[in-house]
C-alpha cells in the first residue's frame, strides 16, 4: 500500500515535468502558427541545432553548464527555505575573480592556474552569497531583496572593470584580454565545444547530491527549510545553517562564472551572462530541488538555447523570443501540475490518515487513573 504510494510519487515527479514540457512545446507551436510560421520547420531546425549532430549535442552541453551550476546552488539554498535570487550576481563576481587570477595571477604548471582561478571564482561567489545569508541570520533581512540587489552591484562592478582598468588598451569593446590558453579549460570532446567544465559540473552534481542526501549538514538544511523554529528548538543553529547554505549556493554560481569565462568565452565580456542566474531559479523549481531533476531541467534549457540559435539562422522571420517563451511556459505548466498533484495527494493523505487513526489508535487505554 505505502510502497505503491511511494512509487506513484516517483511516477508523478517524472510525469509532471515531461507533460509540462510537451505542453509548452505545443503552446509554442500554436504561437508559431499564429505568427505565420510553419511550426514543423521551426521545430526541426531547433532539433538539428540542439541534438541533430555531435556538435549540436556538444553545444547543448556547453549551454547547459552555466545554468546547471547556479541552479544546483539555488536548489541547495531552497532546501533550507532560502531564496537565492542573486545567483546572477554571484556568477559575475565568480567570473571577475576567475578572470583576475587567470590574467594577473601566477602561471602554474599542470593547469594549476585554471584550478586556482576556478577556486577563486567559487570563493568570490561564496562571499557574495554569504552577505545576504549573514544579513538574514543576524538581522532577519529578507535574502530575496538583498541577494537581488547585490546582482546589480556585481554587474556594475564587472562593467566598471571591463570598461576601465581591465579594458584592453586602445580598444573600445568592453572586454578584458583573452586569458592565456594554458589557463583555459581544455576541450574534452574533440569536434565540439565541450570543455572540461563538464567534469566540474558532474562533480558538482555528485557533491550536491551527496551533501543533500548523505550528510548531517544536508539534514540540517532540510530541517531548517521544513520548520526553522523546530530546528532551532532542537538545537540546530539556524543562523549558521543559513549563512553556510547561502555561501554554498553562491559558490556554485561563482563557479559557473569561472567555468563560463575559462571554458566558453575565454575572457570577461560586459553582459556575458544573458541571465543564466535568473533562468537557474526556474530550473531549480522545474527540477524540484532534486540534483538529478535539476540536471534534466538544465539540459532542457540548454537544448532550447542551442536550438533557439538554430531557429534564428534557419527559419526566416522567426523571433528568437519563442525560446524564452517556451521556457517560461514549461515552468508555469510544471508549477501548476505540481500544485494539482500536491492537492490530490494531500486529500489522499488526509483520507489515509483518518483511516489509520481508526486502525491504530483504538486500543485499550492504559491502567492509569479512572
Amino acid at each position: 500500500m505505502s510502497a505503491f504510494r511511494a512509487r506513484s510519487g516517483i511516477v508523478w515527479s517524472l510525469l509532471v515535468p515531461l507533460v509540462s514540457v510537451a505542453l509548452a512545446l505545443a503552446t509554442a507551436g500554436l504561437l508559431l502558427v499564429a505568427s505565420g510560421t510553419d511550426p514543423i520547420t521551426a521545430f526541426h531546425s531547433m532539433w538539428s541545432a540542439a541534438l541533430g549532430s555531435s556538435f549540436a549535442i556538444g553545444t547543448t552541453i556547453v549551454k547547459t553548464m552555466p545554468r546547471l551550476l547556479p541552479a544546483l546552488g539555488i536548489g541547495l539554498a531552497l532546501r533550507a527555505g532560502l531564496w537565492n535570487i542573486g545567483a546572477e550576481g554571484q556568477i559575475y563576481v565568480g567570473a571577475i575573480a576567475a578572470t583576475g587570477v587567470a590574467l594577473f595571477g601566477p602561471q602554474l604548471p599542470f593547469r594549476g592556474t585554471t584550478a586556482l582561478a576556478l577556486l577563486a571564482g567559487g570563493l568570490a561567489g561564496a562571499a557574495w552569497g554569504a552577505i545576504p545569508g549573514v544579513l538574514r541570520a543576524a538581522r532577519g533581512i529578507s535574502e530575496v531583496i538583498t541577494s537581488l540587489m547585490l546582482v546589480y552591484v556585481a554587474v556594475q562592478l564587472a562593467n566598471y572593470l571591463v570598461e576601465g582598468p581591465w579594458l584592453v588598451p586602445n580598444t573600445t569593446f568592453p572586454a578584458t584580454e583573452p586569458v592565456p590558453p594554458d589557463s583555459r579549460l581544455p576541450i574534452v570532446w574533440t569536434g565540439t565545444l565541450v570543455h572540461a567544465g563538464v567534469v566540474v559540473s558532474v562533480l558538482a552534481v555528485l557533491a550536491v547530491w551527496f551533501v543533500v542526501a548523505r550528510t548531517s549538514f544536508g539534514l540540517r538544511l532540510a530541517a531548517v527549510g521544513g520548520n526553522d523554529r523546530a530546528a532551532r528548538v532542537a538545537g540546530i543553529s539556524v543562523a549558521a545553517t543559513t549563512i553556510v547554505a547561502m555561501a554554498a549556493s553562491g559558490a556554485l554560481a561563482g563557479l559557473a562564472g569561472g567555468v563560463e569565462v575559462l571554458g566558453s568565452r575565454g575572457q570577461l565580456i560586459e553582459g556575458f551572462s544573458p541571465g543564466y542566474g535568473f533562468e537557474a531559479i526556474a530550473i531549480a523549481l522545474l527540477g524540484r530541488l532534486n540534483p538529478l531533476g535539476i540536471v534534466a531541467a538544465s539540459l532542457l534549457f540548454g537544448a532550447l538555447d542551442a536550438g533557439g540559435a538554430g531557429l534564428q539562422t534557419a527559419a526566416q522571420g522567426v523571433s528568437s523570443s519563442i525560446v524564452p517563451v517556451t521556457e517560461g511556459l514549461a515552468v508555469v505548466y510544471v508549477l501548476v501540475g505540481l500544485g494539482v498533484v500536491e492537492l490530490l495527494s494531500r486529500r489522499r493523505r488526509a483520507k489515509a490518515a483518518l483511516e489509520e487513526a481508526h486502525h491504530l489508535d483504538v486500543r485499550p487505554v492504559g491502567q492509569v487513573a479512572p
Partner: protein
C-alpha cells in the same frame, strides 16, 4: 516441565544473594535484598523502573560492588569484583542493550566474546558452535550474517547465543523481550524453559511484561524502591497481585502515580532571579527563582500568558534571558546555546509539537535524530550513518510505542498523539538529567496523554529532575510532586502536591495571592 512450588525451595540454591545493600548518592538502590536461585529454576525479578533490579543483577555480575551483603555460589561465599569473576563462575548476563559489534558477523562476535572470557576458538569452530546452538534451541541465527544486517529479534537471539556458548550455569536476562514481537517473545519463553528444564541452568528473568513472566517462571521476587517486597511461587501470583506489589497499594481517586518522597535529594537545576522578555518585548518572566531536584516532578501551574512558556524556553536555551542565572550541575548555562545544554543533559518537550517540535517534511527517523545529529553516533565526519539512524528510530518507535507503519514515513502523516510520542522519545531516550516539558499533553486524547505522563513519571523514578509547565491542574495534581504557581511572570508560591487542591491552586493562579 515446570516445577511445583516447594521443589525449588527444597533444593540447595545455586546462587544466593544475602542482605545486599547498595547506595548511590541520594538513592538507596538496594536495601537489604536477599534472593535464592535454584538449579533449573526460572526466577522472575519484577519491579518498576528504578526499583533496583538492574543494580542487583549488576552486583551479581560484578559490575557494581555492594556496600553490604554476601554472595553464595553453590553454598560457599564468593567474591565477585568484576565480570570476569562472574564469568568464571558460569554466570552469564544478557543486558538490555546489545553488546554485539555491529560490523562483525555473529561467528566473529562469538570468537571475540569467548576470547575475552579466556577461551580461544577459531572462526570455523565458532561457526559450528553457532549452528549447533541454533539447532538445539531453535534460535535460527546465521553464523555468517553481519550483526547490523540482522533484525532486532535476530540480534537478541545472537546475544543469547553468545551467552550460551559460554556454557553458563546461571543466566541473567534483562528485559529480553522488550524489543521482540509477540511471536518472538513467546518462542523466547520456550527457549528459557528449555534452558532450565533440560540444561538445569538457573535463569533470572527481568521483565515488565507480567503475562510473559507468569507463563515462564517458577518463582517471582518483587522489588520496590530498592527493597524486597516479597518472593512468591508463580502459582500464587496473579497480575493484579504483582501490580499491587510493584507499585504499592494504589491510593484512592487520582493518586495513580507514586510520589517522589526521598527527603531532600540533590538540586540539579538552580534558577535565580531570571528575567526573560516575551515575544513583544514585554517582560514575560520577572525575577523567577526555583530549584529543581533529582527524582522529582516540579509542576508550574499557570494560565496562558503567565510566562510559563518563556520560562521553559529560557531554561532550554531557546530564549536568552535578560538577567539571572540558570545553573545546571554547578555550571551557569544561561548563555549557552540549545545544543550545548542538551549535551549537558537537558531534554526539552516544547509547548507546540507542530510549531516547535517537529519538522513535518522530514521522516520520523530524521526527526528522532535532530537533537543528536552532532553527538549521538548518528554521523561520522559529517556523514550520516543511515543504518544507525534507522535502527535507533526502530528501537525508539517500539520503546515509546509510536504507532507508525515505518520510521521512514513523513512525521506529518502521524496522529497528534503519535507525533507527541516522537518528540517525547527524541527528548527522553537519553535519560536527560533535567526534563523540561511545557504543555506536553496539549490536544492529546486520554490514552496518549497517559503515555506521556507515564514517561515523565518513569524519568522521575529513574532520577531525572522534571519540570512540568501546564495549564491543566488535574494533570499537575496527578503527576507532580511539588506545584508552583506562576502568574504575571512571577512565582506566586508553591505547595507540595499532597496539600494542593484545584481550589487552592486556582485561587493562586487567578492572582488572589
Amino acid at each position: 516441565m515446570r516445577r511445583g512450588p516447594g521443589d525449588v525451595a527444597a533444593a540447595r540454591p545455586l546462587v544466593s544473594l544475602r542482605h545486599v545493600t547498595k547506595a548511590y548518592p541520594g538513592v538507596l538502590a538496594n536495601d537489604d535484598v536477599s534472593l535464592d536461585l535454584g538449579q533449573g529454576e526460572v526466577h522472575g525479578l519484577l519491579g518498576e523502573n528504578g526499583a533496583g533490579k538492574t543494580t542487583l543483577m549488576g552486583i551479581l555480575y560484578g559490575l557494581h560492588r555492594p556496600d553490604a551483603g554476601r554472595i553464595l555460589f553453590r553454598g560457599s561465599e564468593v567474591a565477585i569484583t568484576e565480570p570476569r569473576d562472574a564469568m568464571a563462575l558460569g554466570i552469564g548476563y544478557v543486558q538490555q542493550h546489545f553488546s554485539l559489534i555491529p560490523t562483525l558477523t555473529v561467528a566473529e562476535n562469538l570468537v571475540l566474546a569467548l576470547h575475552f572470557g579466556g577461551r580461544r576458538i577459531g572462526l570455523r569452530e565458532s561457526e559450528s558452535t553457532v549452528r549447533e546452538l541454533s539447532r538445539r534451541y531453535g534460535l535460527d541465527v546465521e553464523p555468517g550474517a553481519r550483526v547490523d544486517e540482522l533484525s532486532v529479534g535476530q540480534q537478541q537471539r545472537a546475544e543469547l547465543l553468545k551467552a550460551l556458548a559460554r556454557r553458563p550455569s546461571v543466566l541473567i536476562l534483562d528485559e529480553p523481550s522488550a524489543l521482540l514481537s509477540p511471536q518472538e517473545a513467546e518462542h523466547l519463553g520456550t527457549v528459557i524453559r528449555q534452558l532450565a528444564d533440560d540444561d538445569g541452568i538457573g535463569v533470572i528473568l527481568i521483565s515488565h511484561k507480567l503475562e510473559e513472566v507468569l507463563s515462564v517462571v517458577d518463582r517471582i521476587t518483587v522489588l520496590r524502591r530498592g527493597r524486597l517486597v516479597r518472593t512468591l511461587d508463580a502459582a500464587e501470583a496473579t497480575r493484579g497481585l504483582l501490580g499491587e506489589l510493584m507499585v504499592g497499594e494504589l491510593q484512592a481517586g487520582e493518586e495513580a502515580y507514586e510520589r517522589a518522597d526521598r527527603g531532600e535529594p540533590a538540586a540539579v537545576l538552580e534558577v535565580s532571579d531570571l528575567w526573560v522578555r516575551g515575544g513583544r518585548g514585554a517582560p514575560a518572566v520577572q525575577g523567577v527563582s526555583l530549584t529543581l531536584r533529582r527524582g522529582e516532578i516540579l509542576g508550574i501551574a499557570g494560565l496562558e500568558g503567565s510566562g510559563q512558556v518563556e520560562l521553559v524556553e529560557a531554561l532550554a536555551g531557546v530564549r536568552t534571558p535578560e538577567r539571572g542565572r540558570v545553573v545546571l550541575g554547578g555550571r551557569d548555562v544561561s548563555r549557552l546555546p540549545v545544543a550545548e545544554r542538551q549535551r549537558l543533559g537537558i531534554g526539552h518537550i516544547p509547548p507546540d509539537r507542530r510549531r516547535d517540535g517537529l519538522v513535518p517534511t522530514l521522516t520520523v527517523a530524521e526527526n528522532l535524530t535532530l537533537t543528536t545529529l552532532g553527538h549521538g553516533g548518528f554521523s561520522r565526519f559529517g556523514i550520516l550513518r543511515r543504518g544507525a539512524i534507522r535502527r535507533h528510530a526502530a528501537e525508539l518507535v517500539r520503546r515509546f510505542d509510536v504507532r507508525v507503519p515505518s520510521p521512514d514515513v513523513k512525521v506529518s502523516t502521524l496522529s497528534g498523539g503519535n507525533q507527541q510520542k516522537v518528540v517525547v522519545a527524541r527528548e527522553l531516550w537519553r535519560q536527560p538529567a533535567v526534563v523540561l516539558s511545557c504543555y506536553p499533553t496539549w490536544g492529546l486524547d486520554f490514552a496518549a496523554a497517559s503515555a506521556v505522563h507515564r514517561e515523565l513519571v518513569r524519568q522521575r523514578n529513574e532520577g531525572a529532575a522534571v519540570l512540568l509547565a501546564s495549564m491543566d491542574l488535574d494533570e499537575l495534581l496527578l503527576v507532580a510532586d511539588r506545584i508552583a504557581v506562576m502568574q504575571g511572570g512571577r512565582l506566586m508560591g508553591e505547595l507540595p502536591a499532597r496539600e494542593a487542591t484545584a481550589e487552592r491552586l486556582g485561587l493562586m493562579m487567578g492572582g488572589a495571592g
